[in-house]
């Protein structure tokens, strides 16, 4: 029988999500537990991602597990032409769990098919990054007290932003209302809008980012507008400063509003927002450790009390 892996947020039922978030809250209350004692986790980062790797490795260490792995594929046999399958099968002989990031899309799915130990996808190209989505959901639940019936405004690159696409899937169980704020070149693709229609999710599209949208929002999810996404540089120059959140835009916002961002940010959130208690992006990253502790225990079928 194949082991339990976490490859994509699509595979998570509402129950799966709620169970993982409930356990994440237990880890937040008490992060250091000896649940991985005697176990070895492999963090295979075929593509570097310091932030995600440190978060996972912190989670493993807090659970008293041991870590093996690499942080850059150029130092491994894959640079000599070894197939992913061979690398995965080799590591499967050593570890109880694989956490992997890869620049190729579908790499984690394939890895989960060739090995008998669980695989956690820590990002496969532009495709999936389910632990990011679950930590976003945890942050939303924690700050709002619920996941149900929230108004979530997504701002910036909604075309290529995998975090926002996955967030829509993750939130689809909880009756959200979405505001999509993006320039025409980076607007939400039809596929995601069809998904919303199919699941009865309300959404509104805007090209202007103004305060009237913010004022009705519970969660403001900012993303980076990246220069390299544009074919038309004039369009980039025109929009690059339109989707910037400044502190004075928050003056009439709801008391429960929280601002999220997957990080790293460049200039899309002005630094004067950082001191506003509604800014939540650094705590959001901290929540990632608790959520990843919960995910690791979930795929290994370790109960959390």
């Amino acid at each position: 029988m194949k082991s339990k892996s976490l490859v994509s947020i699509d595979q998570c039922s509402k129950e799966d999500i709620l169970r993982i978030l409930e356990n994440a809250a237990k880890f937040e209350a008490n992060p250091n537990r000896k649940l991985l004692e005697g176990k070895v986790a492999a963090t295979l980062f075929f593509e570097p991602s310091t932030r995600t790797r440190l978060s996972f490795e912190t989670a493993i260490n807090r659970l008293d597990g041991r870590v093996i792995g690499f942080t850059d594929a150029s130092t491994t046999s894959s640079s000599k032409g070894e197939t992913l399958k061979d690398t995965i099968l080799m590591v499967s002989n050593y570890a109880d769990l694989i956490i992997m990031r890869h620049h190729l899309e579908g790499a984690a799915r394939y890895a989960s098919e060739v090995t008998n130990i669980p695989v956690i996808n820590a990002g496969d190209g532009a495709n999936q990054h389910p632990s990011q989505t679950l930590l976003d959901l945890y942050s939303i639940q924690k700050t709002q007290g619920t996941l149900d019936n929230l108004t979530i405004t997504l701002v910036g690159d909604l075309k290529y932003g995998r975090t926002v696409h996955s967030l829509i899937v993750g939130m689809s169980h909880f009756n959200p209302t979405f505001n999509f704020v993006a320039p025409n070149e980076l607007k939400m693709p039809d596929e995601q809008k069809h998904f919303c229609d199919k699941h009865g999710i309300r959404y509104h599209e805007y090209t202007e980012f103004d305060e009237s949208i913010i004022d009705e929002t519970d969660i403001l999810y900012m993303t980076r507008v990246q220069r390299e996404r544009f074919t038309d540089m004039e369009e980039y120059e025109r929009v690059k400063n339109v989707y910037i959140l400044k502190n004075d835009m928050l003056k009439n916002s709801k008391d429960n509003l929280k601002i999220l961002h997957p990080l790293p940010r460049v200039n899309e959130i002005a630094y004067d927002v950082d001191d506003n208690p509604k800014a939540y992006y650094f705590q959001q990253a901290r929540n990632g450790v608790f959520t990843r502790e919960a995910i690791i225990c979930d795929v290994l079928n370790i109960p959390v009390n």
Partner: protein
């Protein structure tokens, strides 16, 4: 009994398979999919033939050749309205429409150059998500591919 046809547009077949109602633009793709360039059987190919149903159509007749079900159903990926006529002793003994399977393995190339299947010695696997429109989705990178963009290995 049925009336004798006035004039056959393609030579009649004694035994074998006649693949009818192929969209003219897809005819050579279908031929490639069936590996006809490697077969020694007698093959007659007609294209841009008149058709009451389709305006114009393509047709392939292969003597003494009967295909396996899964080979046939692959045709549905690019030409869903194709009909297979199984012919024995100059008579059509069976008319079989093609049907898309739920999953297509090892046949289609993923259009996404960053998909793992294009970078690793492995079989591709697609789920058919819309049988009517022939839309498939890569089980690995999750890219959706419309029928007109499907590339056969």
């Amino acid at each position: 009994m049925s009336e004798k046809k006035k004039e056959l547009q393609v030579a009649a077949l004694e035994n074998g398979t006649a693949i009818d109602h192929i969209p003219p633009a897809e005819l050579f793709k279908v031929a490639k999919m069936l590996g006809l360039e490697h077969t020694q059987n007698t093959i007659t190919i007609g294209n841009n033939l008149q058709s009451k149903k389709m305006g114009t159509k393509g047709m392939i007749k292969i003597s003494d050749k009967f295909f396996e079900e899964d080979v046939i159903n692959r045709i549905a990926l690019i030409a869903p309205k194709v009909v297979l006529n199984i012919i024995r002793d100059f008579e059509v003994v069976e008319k079989r429409p093609v049907e898309l399977p739920d999953e297509v393995t090892g046949l289609v190339i993923c259009n996404n150059p960053k998909c793992i299947t294009n970078n690793e010695p492995m079989l591709t696997r697609f789920r058919v998500i819309d049988k009517e429109h022939g839309t498939i989705r890569c089980e690995y990178c999750e890219r959706k591919i419309n029928r007109s963009d499907i590339v056969i290995k």
